[in-house]
């Protein structure tokens, strides 16, 4: 019989839903874990791309006859769309009250920070359209929907605008800007380049479909909304299956805050400062999230991009970076007078990290080329800046105008008394600690819901692995074995096998400890990735519970 068949509970992270991590066994669902995080987060998905929460913040995204405001326009549904449906709408100018005027559709939103609004548009009897945010200097852009499909007059503080040919005469048009407070979004039927006024006639117009407003520098796949905003992807309480190869692991992290107010847009309007010779191109290349939203920096040997932090602290700085061509060294994340921030980069994206910065200051340097020969490459792409408290960097926390806290992951409450045997058993765990510099205890445990009857594995400070059993409130005399011989930042396979008279510990295929006096816990009824308020933080590849002790050979196989 295969070991899998002998197990009573098996978790190989692959199936999840909001608030739940599914176990493969038992199939009754009694072995499934509860999951909470209560904030959005990011993960590396199976394509190797960083996946975020996505949203459409506009209401009635493809129902233009409700919620939207109209000024000298009317709408009509049932038009042939870009996606082969008849879900598009015509947007038609109405007869004039007096002479030439503007004609537009609008919706007001209450969001702040870097946002992108997009519409699918097609020329009708008019070939031009304008998108505008009514805020600040009124960021805007004009779109030529004729066969060329071009953007004009990007202005009013707009970060960027884009038009993409999607076929059949349709274009996806978008504009990106920093919003603040209450902001009407306008879609015009336009007369021509930089000209929105004309005499409406109940026929002149364009075709529209699928409006979307979202955080960030680019428009992403369409999310349809009705009466409320819709959030998808890695949103609140969605467990993260993180990929660093073919197989995913369950990512469990502590709460962290990205103190940088704008992690993907590095302009002065988002609080970034600069000095020396710099040419910046937004939305230059494909970033680690798979979208064309990286920032190209062409630097002189006197260049720096930086931002002040409100409060100085010794935290973990990180940044995704690549060269546009070739490889070389460059000083990132801290001042050029440091020596611990010289990174070698090439044409592949990498995340560079810096903790315990030699010179702690309230300044996060995106780049600083003033260190002479320390920098040999001056044309780079950057994305995803992060500055968090703690001795190591955690997964990326995107920010678009505010500092953001990602709450802690908690995975617990699997199993019941029917799964566990009170006489003997095996707890198996394959995982990597979030960082060997993390000084907190990080537990996986089976208990009776108290601290009286416990089997647990703790990935502690440094490379500590501690395996323990408590029976009827008694520890110490029972199994309590610690080792620091394994690198816990790599995946480690640990198994504790116990009976009424002894316990054995196997790690990575080898029996490393036997306690011939340890006795079994009297009652066990729940598995948690936490014990004594110390949750496990790291990556989990598998977890299993067997309701009887295994042989040495089986345990060696299991942990090999």
């Amino acid at each position: 019989m295969a070991l899998y068949d002998k197990a009573s509970l098996v978790l190989i992270p692959s199936g999840t839903k909001t608030g739940k991590v599914y176990s493969q066994k038992p199939i009754s669902g009694d072995g499934d874990f509860d999951f909470t995080r209560s904030s959005y987060a990011t993960r590396v998905n199976s394509q190797g791309l960083i996946e975020k929460e996505r949203s459409n913040l506009l209401l009635q995204s493809n129902n233009f006859d409700t919620t939207w405001g109209y000024t000298r326009v009317s709408v009509s549904s049932g038009q042939s769309g870009y996606d082969g449906t008849n879900d598009a709408w015509s947007l038609i100018s109405t007869s004039p009250e007096s002479g030439a005027a503007s004609h537009y559709l609008r919706q007001t939103v209450n969001f702040s920070g870097v946002h992108t609004v997009s519409f699918y548009l097609k020329a009708g009897t008019k070939n031009w359209s304008r998108l505008l945010f009514l805020t600040g200097s009124n960021p805007r852009a004009d779109f030529d929907l004729s066969s060329n499909g071009t953007v004009h007059n990007i202005g009013g503080g707009a970060i960027t605008a884009d038009i993409t040919d999607v076929g059949s005469g349709w274009y996806r048009c978008s504009i990106t800007a920093v919003l603040s407070g209450s902001t009407p979004i306008y879609l015009y039927i336009a007369q021509g380049n930089n000209n929105t006024d004309f005499v409406g006639d109940n026929t002149a117009g364009i075709y529209i479909q699928d409006a979307q407003l979202e955080q960030g520098l680019v428009a992403t796949d369409v999310i349809e909304t009705t009466t409320s905003a819709v959030y998808t992807g890695i949103t609140d309480n969605v467990p993260r299956l993180d990929y660093d190869g073919a197989c995913p692991s369950l990512l469990l992290e502590p709460a962290r805050t990205n103190f940088l107010l704008a992690s993907e847009y590095f302009d002065s309007s988002s609080g970034w400062s600069r000095g020396g010779t710099i040419t910046q191109t937004d939305n230059y290349g494909i970033s680690p999230d798979g979208k064309r939203n990286s920032t190209r920096l062409q630097l002189g040997n006197d260049a720096l991009v930086y931002r002040n932090l409100a409060t100085p602290f010794d935290g973990a700085r990180s940044l995704y970076v690549k060269s546009t061509s070739g490889s070389g060294t460059i000083q990132l994340l801290a001042n050029h007078t440091n020596t611990d921030n010289i990174f070698t980069i090439d044409e592949n994206w990498q995340r560079v990290e810096l903790s315990d910065v030699q010179q702690v200051s309230q300044i996060y340097y995106l780049v600083d080329t003033r260190g002479g020969s320390n920098t040999t490459i001056f044309d780079i792409e950057v994305w995803g800046a992060q500055y968090e408290s703690g001795s190591y960097a955690t997964s990326y926390i995107p920010t678009y105008g505010t500092s953001v806290t990602r709450n802690a992951d908690l995975c617990d409450n699997a199993g019941d008394s029917t799964i566990f045997n009170d006489e003997e058993g095996v707890l198996y765990f394959e995982a990597a600690s979030i960082s060997t510099s993390d000084t907190n205890d990080k537990y996986i445990s089976i208990t009776d819901g108290t601290t009286n009857n416990v089997v647990n594995i703790n990935f502690g400070s440094g490379n500590l692995i501690r395996c323990a059993i408590r029976s009827n409130g008694v520890g110490g005399d029972n199994l309590d074995y610690s080792t620091t011989s394994f690198n816990t930042s790599d995946f480690v396979k640990v198994a504790i096998s116990w009976t009424s008279t002894n316990a054995r510990v196997f790690i990575n295929g080898t029996k490393i400890h036997t306690d011939s006096n340890s006795i079994n816990p009297l009652i066990l009824n729940v598995i948690d990735f936490v014990y004594l308020s110390s949750p496990f933080h790291g990556k989990v590849k598998s977890l299993a519970y067997f309701n009887r002790a295994l042989t040495d050979t089986e345990l060696a196989d299991l942990t090999s």
Binding site: S112, S180, N308, T311, S361, T402, A408
Partner: protein, 123 residues
């Protein structure tokens, strides 16, 4: 439903007392709460200025009050209402719960429309 709110207290001690009370039930027993709390501290109300090397040019002006953000598991604790503050929604700290941020922003607009001036209609 999680609810995001911002608070200010007269001192760090006053904030700590209030936070600690969340871990005690009406009978004085210790309880675990699952609200998320971030201590922002004495936040700068006027940012300091610094040169490119990080040398301070003008010092920041810090708030006299101690600031705390809470993501409540449910509705906010009624005992905290008197310490609630509202502010413009840009350049501040938030928890990464989009629904909670949206609710907080709508509530902020309802109570303090001055933070959300309606722009002039574009004609």
């Amino acid at each position: 439903m999680r609810t995001f709110r911002k608070y200010q207290f007269g001192s760090k001690g006053a904030a700590t007392t209030k936070i600690n009370q969340l871990s005690v039930d009406e009978e004085g027993n210790e309880v675990e709460h699952n609200h998320a709390i971030v201590r922002l501290g004495y936040i700068p109300i006027v940012q300091g200025t610094y040169d490119e090397e990080g040398n301070e040019l003008t010092p920041p002006v810090l708030s006299d009050d101690y600031h705390v953000d809470v993501l409540w598991n449910g509705e906010p604790d009624e005992d905290w209402v008197d310490f609630t503050i509202w502010c413009e929604p840009l350049g501040v700290h938030v928890f990464g719960s989009s629904k909670a941020i949206a609710e907080w922003t709508e509530k902020c607009k309802e109570l303090h429309p001055e933070y959300f001036p309606e722009p002039q209609e574009e004609e």
